[in-house]
Structures are given as structure tokens and as C-alpha cells.
Amino acid sequence: MSQPAPSPFVAALLDAPLPASGIGWLDAARRENLEAFAAAGLPDTRVETWKYTALRALAQRRFAAGDAQADARDVDLSAFALPGTDGPELVFVNGAFRADLSRLRDLPAGLSLQPLSLSLRQDAEPLRFALAGRYREAGDAFARLNAALAADGVVLRVAAGARIAQPVRLLFIGAPAEADLAWHARNVVELGEGAELALVEQHASSGEQGHLGTLVGDIVLREGAKLRHAVLQDAAEGGTLVRRNSLHLAARAQAAVHVLELGGALVRHELQAELGGDGSRLDMRGVFALRGRQHVDTQLAIRHQALGTASDSVWRGVADQRARGVFRGAIVVAAGADGSDASLANKNLLLSGQAEIDTKPELEIYADEVKAAHGATVGQLDERSLFYLRSRGIPQVQARSMLTSAFCRSVFDDLPDETLREHLFAMLSRRLPA
């Protein structure tokens, strides 16, 4: 049986040398993940989780490995300022850690925050569980790639019982370079028992470029820990960004996730959550607002594994012009997760006849006394509302914008951080047709 020649995408990435850590288990994991990636290549649309996201065009592109000049890229951080977050932050430019732009001095007690590259040099052993994994699913191509090639990222730990008052920001900036680059970030986040943290993950761009970024984050919440995680994605118009955040919640842990997806040409966002401890709770809110020829794919996979767990997910999508949105929300209530409560709602708005949104809620229940609700809709702006606004003198374009904005904003109404909420609204307003 002859192997087909690897696509230009795969061939270009295989050309680059693996990052060498000198750590046996890590180098082995990297090598094996790369081999698995090389053997399987990119998934096609026959793989269920990639059904609506075709990678044929991506497979024909070549990305250079990393940015040798990342340290010298001129980046104006004020363009990405988030009001209210002047706490600790880690900044990456084209995947490379930038100490000069980061704020890591005077960390509050109980918070440990450093780049992965430094953690690996100092003491790699605690990272073994997170980084020694092999990805075996057909849809795991980018996770394999990330596991093989990510030389840096974030290691964040909050000590048991510590409540970190200031939000911690992780900022990933794409900067113009001589060629389109591939960069990879690997984040490991752990909140100890009863610890509390607000985390802002921000993806931004300092100019037009067509880089590929991959991010894999493992986020572990020990018993009773509380995490607020906000994701603001405003990557370059031509960018490709594939992210996977996996959350593990122990007993009584609580996570609230708010996601705003605005940028990128091709974006894939996988949010996997395992409610592994009794009474753990997950609330997720997300909005994607797309235009041009953007393709943004959001994949939620939530597993209820323990007694009395709860998840509540609300997602809204808007697609204008020829944009394409994909949403899949899969919930599994496993045997033994009795008394769990799972709800998921996804509403979408098409602003043009050429836009498309595919949505697929999935629910599998193997436990008893479960409350579950899920639903998804795709529709257009309500003509009656539009006429009502216009009949009061509001021009059509502005009326459409008001209704679209209202449709999206309601999702973030429960965001407790008012400054962040207003900032999300402002980003959204700039993005929506005005």
C-alpha cells in the first residue's frame, strides 16, 4: 500500500527540527506526536467533528517554523489595552515569549506565573502529566502538532486557598513577518483547592499577516476552586488560529467562561470540559460575529461525570457577507452523573443571503434524574422590530446594527466585571455593521 505524498502544509512543518528539551519523556512525546501528525495529516470532512470545516485550502499552504526575529518585532501594546487589567501579564509575539513586554514582577502571594520554556528548564517534572500525552483521535491533528512543536506557553498556578484579586492576562499577538509563520503555544493552568482566579486570554494582531497559531491549554480546577476565564479573539484578518482549551473540574469547582470571537480568516475553537467532581459547575457564554469570508468553528464538548454537576452554555452567532459560522455543542451525561443539570442554547443570525451558519447541539444521557435542555436556531433580523425602529426615525443601517448588537450583548449581561463587559461591548460594536 503506497502512502500518498504529504500535503505542502504537512511537508513544510516536517522540515523544521523538533524543539530539543533534553528531557527524555518530553522529547519522546514530541517525536511520537509529530509522527502521528505526519502519518494522519489534516482531518478531512469525513471526520465528524470537522464536517463543516474543510481544510483543503490550508493543506496547500506552507508555514515557516516560528519567528527567529520575534524578539525584535515592534509591537505597540497600548493598542490591546484592556481597561481594568493592569495586573500580571504574559505577552507572546508570534509565539515567542517577550519578557520586555510582560509584567511578571511583584506577583501576588499564591500566584506563580512564568513562560513554559522557563518552567521546563527549572523543573519539568510537575508538567509531565500535562505534556507527556499522546493524542489519538482522528480530529486531533492540531493538538498533535502543538504537542510536537510548542516550545513555549504559559505555566500558571494558584496555591490552595489563594484568591488572586487582579485578573491575569495572557496576550498572544501576531506580528507581520517576512513569511507566513506557524507558532504554537502550550498553556498549563492549575488552581489549587479553593483558589480563585480571573484569567483573560487575548488574541490580537499588530498588522496584517497570515500566520497559523495553535494553542492547547490544560486547565485544572481542584476542589472548590473558582475560575473566571474570558477569551477575546481579535486575530488578523488573514490569520489561521486553532485553539483547544480543556477544563477539568474537581468537586464543587466552578468555572465561568466568556468567549468573544471576532477575528481571523480560519478559526477553530474547541472547548472541552470535564465535570469530574460532585457538584462542580460550568457556565459558558460566547459570541462570534463574522463578516467577509471568515470561517469560525466553535466546538463545545462537555462531559458530566459526577453527581449533581451543572453546565449552562449560551452561544450566539452572527454572520454577515459571505462568512461561515459553525457551532457544535455536545453534552454527555455519563452513567453515575445522577441529578445533573445540563443546558445549552445556540441562536444565530444571518445578516446576508450568502452567509451560512451550521449548528448542531448533541445530547447523550446515561444517568438518572437528569435535567437537560438544548436547542439551536438560525434566523434573520426580525422585520417587525426593524420597522418599529425605522418608524421612529432610526435609519435602516443603524436599526440593523442596534438589533444585531442587542442580540449579541445579552449573552454578556451576566459578566460580573463591568469594565471588561463594557470593553467586550465596544469591541463588538466596532465589529458589527455600523
Partner: protein
């Protein structure tokens, strides 16, 4: 001010207005009455510019301008206001924000300076008093969770803030109990002026006990078949709309 001549209009391919003529002058209050299906609400919607209402013949001029050539927002800026029979709930759009945007875009279209938030607030406070609306309603989303009476009062409140030249009240009395009806009527009466005209579309005479019209017209089968003063409404109340059907040829508006 408003001159409707031989207006024909279709909805979904069906002819609803079949040669309606009506003249309204500043300061006048006209009541349009008629049985269900006569075309009353179609008239309001055609004047406000709703999609799906196709004018096949006739003309409407408003202050000398061809009203039918204007977009709904331009009609509003020109001074036409429609109080909806079924005001729409718009979750996520704050009532105050909406009303200020409406007033300022109208002012902008007319070349008048926009009001800043302090000026707007002062105006709103003054109008609230007249309408006896609690300012709690202002902080909610447009009509969201409002009772039937609150929705209708909110329409009249919007009218008070926007100060149109011509207000069309489409079945504003429907679904109101007597107290709510009185409040709405009081709000309307407070806004009567020599410069402002009203077109009240209603099925029942009841509203006219509280808002006294200068003229009453009977609309039947897409035309005005009878016009008179307020006593015509009483006659209708006594004899019912069947009387209209037996009552000879369609008449033009005599106003």
C-alpha cells in the same frame, strides 16, 4: 398637511384599499372607524411605510412632499408618527437609548442640533410627568415585559418626546381597561395643538368619549363611505356597521 387621493394598496396580492381619499389639516383630529377587514390598519401601515404594502394607484402628499417616495425613517423625520396596535418588544435595546437615538437621528435628518444626554434627560422628565409613566420603564428594554397598557402608554410617551406633526394612532384603545384608556387619552389630549393633527384608527366609539374628534370617517371595503362630525360615531354605535353597508355609494372625505 396630509392629502390622500384615490389611494389603492395591496397586501400579499390582495387589494385592501380601493380608492381612499382624505384631507387632514393642522390641528384637526380625525377618527377612522370601520368594521374588521375594512383596511383601517392597512392605511396606517401604508402611511408609515411598512414593507409588504404595495401602493398600486393614487397619491399621498404630506406638507407638499410625496410621502410614498420616502423611507420609513424619512417619514418619521418629516413628522409622521405611527402608534402601533401591537408595539414590538425589543430585548437588549434600552428604552432610553432607543428614544434618544430616535430623536437625535430625526433632528439630524432635519438639520437640527442633536440633544446631549443632559438636555435629553430634561426633556424626558418633563414628558414623563405628563404621561404619568414611572421612570423605571425607561431603564428596561423597549416594551420588554410591559403590560398591554404600559406598551400603549409607551407609544404615546414616545410621541410626546418626538413631537410629530401627524400622529396616527392605530387601535390605541384595543386591549385597554377603562383606567388605562383614560390615561392614554389624557396623554393624547395633552398633545393636541393647532400645529399637530391626529388620525385615530379605531373599531369602537369608546375611545372617542375621551378624545373628541373633529371629524369621523367610516371606512368600508377600502374606501371612505361616510364622513361627518362626532355624532356619526354615535350613530355607528347605535346602529352598527351593518348600517354602513346599506348606506349608498362611497363618499369622498368632506374634511
Amino acid at each position: 398637511m396630509l392629502k390622500i387621493e384615490n389611494l389603492h394598496a395591496r397586501v400579499e396580492g390582495k387589494e385592501i384599499l380601493k380608492g381612499l381619499s382624505l384631507t387632514v389639516n393642522p390641528g384637526e383630529v380625525h377618527a377612522i372607524m370601520g368594521p374588521n377587514g375594512a383596511g383601517k390598519s392597512t392605511l396606517g401601515n401604508v402611511l408609515a411605510g411598512r414593507d409588504g404594502y404595495e401602493v398600486t394607484a393614487g397619491s399621498v402628499s404630506f406638507d407638499g412632499v410625496d410621502l410614498l417616495a420616502l423611507e420609513p425613517e424619512e417619514r418619521a423625520a418629516a413628522g409622521v408618527f405611527l402608534a402601533f396596535q401591537y408595539p414590538v418588544e425589543i430585548p437588549g435595546v434600552n428604552n432610553t437609548y432607543f428614544l434618544r437615538a430616535a430623536l437625535n437621528t430625526q433632528r439630524k435628518q432635519r438639520g437640527e442640533p442633536e440633544l446631549d444626554s443632559m438636555q435629553f434627560l430634561r426633556l424626558v422628565r418633563e414628558k414623563l410627568k405628563v404621561m404619568r409613566i414611572s421612570d423605571e420603564l425607561l431603564h428596561r428594554a423597549v416594551n420588554e415585559g410591559f403590560s398591554g397598557g404600559e406598551k400603549k402608554r409607551n407609544e404615546i410617551f414616545q410621541m410626546a418626546v418626538l413631537e410629530p406633526k401627524l400622529a396616527i394612532l392605530d387601535e390605541t384603545d384595543s386591549g385597554l381597561d377603562i383606567d388605562a384608556l383614560k390615561q392614554v387619552a389624557q396623554g393624547v389630549n395633552a398633545q393636541r395643538s393647532p400645529q399637530r393633527a391626529f388620525l385615530m384608527i379605531t373599531h369602537y366609539q369608546r375611545l372617542l368619549d375621551y378624545i373628541e374628534p373633529d371629524f369621523v370617517h367610516v371606512l368600508a371595503d377600502g374606501r371612505i363611505v361616510e364622513s361627518g362630525d362626532k355624532t356619526l360615531a354615535l350613530k355607528l354605535e347605535e346602529q352598527g356597521y351593518a348600517w354602513v353597508a346599506e348606506h349608498g355609494e362611497p363618499a369622498g372625505a368632506k374634511a
